[in-house]
């Protein structure tokens, strides 16, 4: 099953945000802070998400190989089963959250006994104990914690696990997080542009050599290679993007009529930098990282670093199929490691 019990953390010393044991190199997990306290200021929610864990999510690539991914399920309320990570139901990426600006949101994360995880709503800036950063609050283990937050700014975000983050986010523990303005979908932000069609470009790289590691790999020391991300697969919104799999695959690809507005929500979900090119189309960036730009910027390509988001509106006027290519660029050498492809079809 590839599961592994915590060995050094089941004893004392882990409560109240204490240390996670030493660096004895005897395996197990270190520097995690498992707890399931009450959420400060807990009130009634307008919207509740119940997320569980799935550590066995097969992802089949274009070459026929299957890579194991980890992720969040949307059936985390099923305590003790799916929440334990054994019940399946997970997808890559994890299910998207879509909420409305100003609503009080609860993200209930149910984690079983076998692992420790958190949820960090990236770009959302809540009370720190709802931020999902273990060393400053706690990691969730063997129970359910409620992250409470109230998004103040419409835009594109994502959520991801922040435990042993280098590994867990690479393993696929993330999903899109969209905050709509009170006007609802179809408006990017209050006072901002409207759109008719939406595309989601969540571009990521996978180093398959990392995908057999246990959840706590490296936490107690020892060289498990987490300083070197040498990707061999390149995905866009959960699909192998190196070939044609993400072409004509809404909502990754999009078909728009002339005169319509397409909103592309681009998330740099990998660690290496990226450059996305619009195949001859010119788009306008209206927002980035969940904040409107003071002035929209017209672009034919964007360079992005890890976890940046860009909201781009296209108003194509010429029929045709436009290739949207994203290069994944090595963080030291600048070499293009791989490229994902999808398309915009204008009819």
């Amino acid at each position: 099953m590839g599961m592994r019990r915590r060995t050094t953390t089941d004893g004392g010393g882990m409560d109240g945000g204490g240390g996670g044991g030493g660096m004895g190199g005897m395996g197990g997990s270190c520097y995690i802070y498992p707890a399931t306290p009450a959420t400060p200021g807990l009130t009634n929610a307008d919207v509740t998400f119940n997320l569980g864990i799935d550590m066995q999510i097969p992802l089949t690539m274009d070459d026929g190989n299957t890579i194991n991914m980890w992720g969040f399920t949307d059936n985390g309320g099923n305590m003790g089963m799916d929440g334990g990570g054994m019940g399946g139901g997970g997808t890559f990426p994890s299910p998207a959250m879509r909420v409305t600006q100003g609503d009080i949101i609860h993200t209930n994360l149910n984690v079983g006994m076998m692992w420790v995880h958190t949820i960090h709503h990236h770009g959302i800036e809540p009370e720190y104990r709802s931020d999902g950063v273990g060393h400053l609050s706690h990691d969730v283990a063997n129970g359910t914690y409620t992250y409470q937050w109230r998004p103040a700014h419409a835009g594109t975000y994502f959520y991801h696990c922040h435990t042993n983050t280098v590994l867990h986010a690479e393993m696929g523990m993330y999903g899109a997080l969209i905050v709509d303005p009170p006007e609802g979908p179809g408006t990017l932000f209050s006072g901002g542009p409207r759109y008719d069609v939406e595309a989601f470009w969540v571009v990521d790289e996978i180093d398959s050599s990392w995908h057999t590691l246990p959840w706590d790999a490296g936490t107690c020391g020892g060289d498990v290679g987490l300083n070197e991300l040498n990707p061999d697969y390149f995905v866009i919104t959960g699909v192998d993007g190196s070939g044609d799999s993400a072409m004509n695959t809404p909502p990754i690809s999009a078909t728009v009529q002339r005169g319509q507005k397409l909103l592309a929500r681009y998330i740099c979900a990998g660690y290496h930098p990226q450059k996305i090119r619009f195949g001859g189309l010119t788009g306008k960036i209206y927002a980035s990282d969940g904040r409107p730009l003071p002035k929209p910027v017209s672009v034919t390509e964007i360079r992005a670093c890890s976890a940046e988001r860009y909201d781009i509106i296209f108003e194509p006027t010429e029929r045709g199929t436009y290739l949207i290519e994203t290069d994944i660029i090595h963080w030291v050498t600048g070499d293009v490691l791989g490229t994902t492809r999808t398309s915009i079809t204008v009819v």
Binding site: G13, G17, G18, G19, G20, G21, M23, C30, Y31, Y33, G41, H120, H122, G123, I124, E125, P126, E127, Y128, R129, S130, D131, V133, H135, L136, Q148, W149, R150, P151, A152, T165, V166, L167, G218, T219, C220, G221, G222, D223, V224, G225, L226, N227, E228, Y271, P273, S288, D289, G290, R291, L293, P294, R303, C305, S306, A307, E308, I329, W331, V332
Partner: protein
């Protein structure tokens, strides 16, 4: 090799040396330009990394029997004359350069050189050894240098948004194989593979680890790195990259106002939670506003949040040890 200066340093010695540097959190503008004198001793030694491995470094240090990486932060004012004396205690040639400002040229082993230059353009700079590029810079010969606008205590450039305190965040990535080659006066011949990642010379030490909470060792509690502020304490971040890796600088708690990019004033100020930091001396200036975290319910004004590089490989040490890399904490007090 000069044995007298070939010292082994703990991280503790490094940070305490840094604390003796020029005023950091506040800056009192002067009506008159001044002459600022500073002496750096180029020294060498080993610095113990979070996994216990000793890695060779050279530094712009405050004395012959000290190794400081990075060199002390300097903040001066437009119009000032800066007089830098470099005492090269090593047997190898080195230099002191600030791009667009000054270049000492070759300073032979054992030589002392004083250079004098006027600073005329406000901004954030790196001083570094440009010889044998990029190796001498990578092995530790670098530091942060800032020029304040004339007569201003709260702008990064004349007319910029205001701040009330300022920090350098100088990031670095370290390949010990390369450092060892440089120690042995060989040109590194291996593919660059960074194994350690620092902010202002220190790595994170999460709660429960040896040295956690020790401001001399733990980047999360280093007073030069960790942000402390109350609501409204807008904090200028002078972000520099001495390493090779392109990074994504990510703050929790607040977005950053992104003011400059590689020395250029941006046409528009964007509010970002991740900012692209280029490798090989990339830099930017941003303001962390210390505004109430906008998405808290109920609203809050206190708390603690991390800053970390989202290029998550940089959060490790020695191939593992998540949280022992380039990160610090942000305290809303």
């Amino acid at each position: 090799m000069d044995r007298r200066n070939f010292l082994k340093f703990s991280s503790a010695g490094i940070a305490s040396a840094l604390l003796g540097s020029t005023g950091l959190l506040s800056w009192a503008p002067r009506a008159e330009a001044a002459t600022i004198s500073k002496t750096f001793y180029i020294t060498e030694g080993f610095i113990t990394q979070p996994d216990g491995v000793d890695v060779y470094f050279r530094g712009f240090s405050p004395s012959t029997n000290n190794l400081t990486v990075p060199g002390a932060q300097m903040i001066v004012q437009e119009g000032d004359t800066v007089r830098i004396t470099i005492v090269n205690t090593l047997g190898t040639s080195h230099s002191f350069k600030i791009d667009g400002v000054v270049d000492s040229g070759r300073i032979y082993g054992g030589q002392t050189r004083t250079i004098e230059f006027q600073v005329n353009k406000a901004g954030t700079y790196m001083y570094y050894d440009a010889r044998n590029a990029p190796y001498n810079r990578l092995v530790g010969l670098h530091g942060g240098f800032a020029v304040m606008p004339k007569g201003s205590s709260d702008e990064v450039y004349a007319g910029s948004p205001n701040f009330v305190q300022q920090y350098f965040w100088l990031f670095h990535d370290i390949d010990p194989v390369w450092h060892n080659s440089i120690r042995n006066r060989r040109t590194p011949g291996t593919t660059y593979s960074p194994r350690y990642f620092t902010i202002n010379g220190l790595s994170g030490r999460p709660p429960g680890s040896a040295g956690s909470g020790d401001p001399a060792i733990d980047a999360m509690h280093d007073p030069l790195s960790a942000l402390h502020g109350h609501i409204g304490d807008r904090t200028l971040l002078r972000v520099l990259n001495a390493g090779q890796c392109q990074q994504s600088v990510h703050t929790h708690g607040n977005h950053m106002d992104w003011l400059t990019d590689n020395g250029q004033i941006r046409d528009e100020i964007w509010s970002k939670d991740c900012i692209y930091l280029e490798g090989n001396m990339g830099k930017f200036d941003a303001i962390f506003p210390f505004a109430p975290p906008p998405d808290a319910h109920p609203p809050v004004t206190t708390g603690v949040y991390p800053m970390h590089l989202h290029t998550e490989m940089s959060q490790t040490a020695g191939g593992g040890l998540y949280m022992f890399g380039s990160l610090t904490d942000i305290f809303f007090e």
